[in-house]
Amino acid sequence: MLAPVTTEVRPGRRRRTAGSTSATQRSIYPSWFYLPAAALYLVFFAVPTFASFYFSLTRWTLFDTEFIGLENYVQFFSEPQLLQGFVNTLVYGFVTSGAKVVLGLALAVLLTSQLVGRGYLRSVVFFPVLVSTIGVGITFKALLDPFDGVVNTMLAAFGIDGPGWFTDPDQALLTIAAVDVWKGLGIATLIYIAGIVAIPQEYYEAARVDGASRWQQFRSITLPLVQPATATVIILSLIGGLRSFDLIWATTGGGPGFTSDVIGSVIYKQYQAGFYGLSTAGNVILFLVVTAVMVPISILLNRKEVDR
């Protein structure tokens, strides 16, 4: 369903092995290899998830539950801040994912070229991945404080009146998205670097012989051949972006007011308020939303790959 990350499968090899009978396949590749992972998955993920489908149909206070049918779903959809939450979720998911694709690819191209300080740059881009979300949240709240923060102090030195970042209702969500990109760019770049180094150098040499410019090489070799990496980056970052709430929670808590609320943070607030049934219903809805967005996208990405 998902594209390979590092390199693509060469069609020739697959054809050759298609000859092995399923009987030998079965003995060389025994199904029980699935079992240990499946057991963990079943016990710690599938069972609780199915239990939560049931709980989403109850009024649930931890001490007792009462079956109330679809009431939680009705109520979730009547949450006043939900519409904005939906819009914000999509904006956040697509903005962060898009930025990670574009910037990640650009950085990967840069970092696979002959560049001064390449080793240093590769490390430094990855550093933010290593800091915990809490740490990032605390740090950027301090750096982006509208009055005493470093960023606005520096802007003021250039005569620019810095924005309110996390406190400006129009900017809070995009500010968080920017921090999210800062934090997650390293992974996207890493995946792209792996994809780019997997492209055989001969292609570039042939193109150079034909007199192709750098840009032409990028357009006609790098971009199409790095597509599996693009698929992986899009899928991972979009799923992450649509589900994300922890960085939002760590910086604005969905505020000011509800302006940076996403579905994830609405659910979390309900959970915190002790509305377990309601928040579980929200979880199911979030799951459906993410699936509705991801399935067409992953089909599209896979088809593109086959076409090529």
Partner: protein, 440 residues
Amino acid sequence: MMSPADRERSTRRHVAVAAAAVPLLVLAGCSSSAADGGATEITFLTSNDAPNPETAEALAEAFEAENPDVRVDVEIRPGGAEGDNLVKTRLSTGEMADVFYYNSGSLLQALNPDSSLVDLSDQEWVGSLTEEFVPVVSTEDGTYGAPLGAAFAGGVVYNRSVYEELGLTVPQTWDEFMANNEKIATEGEGIAPVIQTYGETWTSQLFVLGDFANVLAVDPEWAEQYTAHQRSYAEEPALLGFQHQQEVAEAGYFNEDFPSATFPDGARMIAEGEGAHYPMLSSVVQTIMQNTPDGVDDLGFFALPAAEAEHTQATIWQPNAVYVPASTEGAELEAAKAFVAFVNSAAGCDIQNELLVPAGPYAGTCDLPDDAPPLLDDIQAYVDDGRTANALEFLSPVKGPNLEKVTVEVGSGIRSAEDAAAFYDQDVESQAKQLGLEGW
């Protein structure tokens, strides 16, 4: 839903994602060594708000000195909603500490005390509780908690020096309050008339929550009727709280950095006279005692003024309490009960007075120290006059989770008072439905 344990609520947004059952080190391994052979060990769970861990440790130590055969291990949990969740989860899974510290009022009621806690109504100290406090730790079937800490008031904490300099007097009506603000704005030389600190969103709720005693003065039935879905914030008198906040915001009386300022910032500003009024809980004195103790004597308190002077009353928050969960049994139960009693003994009161700086009257046996901050006299005056009422959270289980967000919106000009009140009514509705209340 505001109380000291609650203060963490939005503060710790960043960590709230996480929230932590941060352990207070109790080196479990060493404790049960041979020397103290048959000692009973109990655990005491408190919240991580600054004076609480220290107080808990001091109480445990003093109790152990009096009862050498009992060991008390202190555990720490986060405050705020994260803490609520942790307490509920641990109670419902039977994993609660032997004694725990938690809110009284509707948050306690949400714990199903009849089935999850031990009834303490046969304990000696119960007789000493104030009549305002008993109902907030009781159900029809029992009394479950002993107060730890004093009550506190919600209203306006003001700077006396600023008032003296500008020749102001304590306002009795809302119009007088606004007139004072106007004078501070024009003559105060940069002093902010009203401090707001939306860097921590819970602090934005005081205009509404602190106005509640005034609502009750106009409509004594309001709380019961609200629970029955017969009253709402979209109508007067309750709407006034929202409108007053909007009025102050529109007049531009807030400190410039109100969108990002934090609670400690606000505490510092009021103590140092950078601002004149801070609508806040009187327990802010605890923070001021810690950070800028010189400013404490400068502080005074008045109730948020109602439209009419006769309706102006102070809103009171009853203290949090310590409880024993039903999962505690046998020797541990006896030790836990003894520890709860110790909290309100003479020795326990000394520790409370020393570490938990009272910000209002006590609800049990303890007496205020002689050197209590002057702001307490202002609160006591309201109590003596009978011009107080318990906060809404002690009278009704209904409280929407998003009030602090809505009041931030009102104060920031994102939403009008009327819109905000209507929005909040809707928010409350979802909560009441989750509680399964009648009439919603």
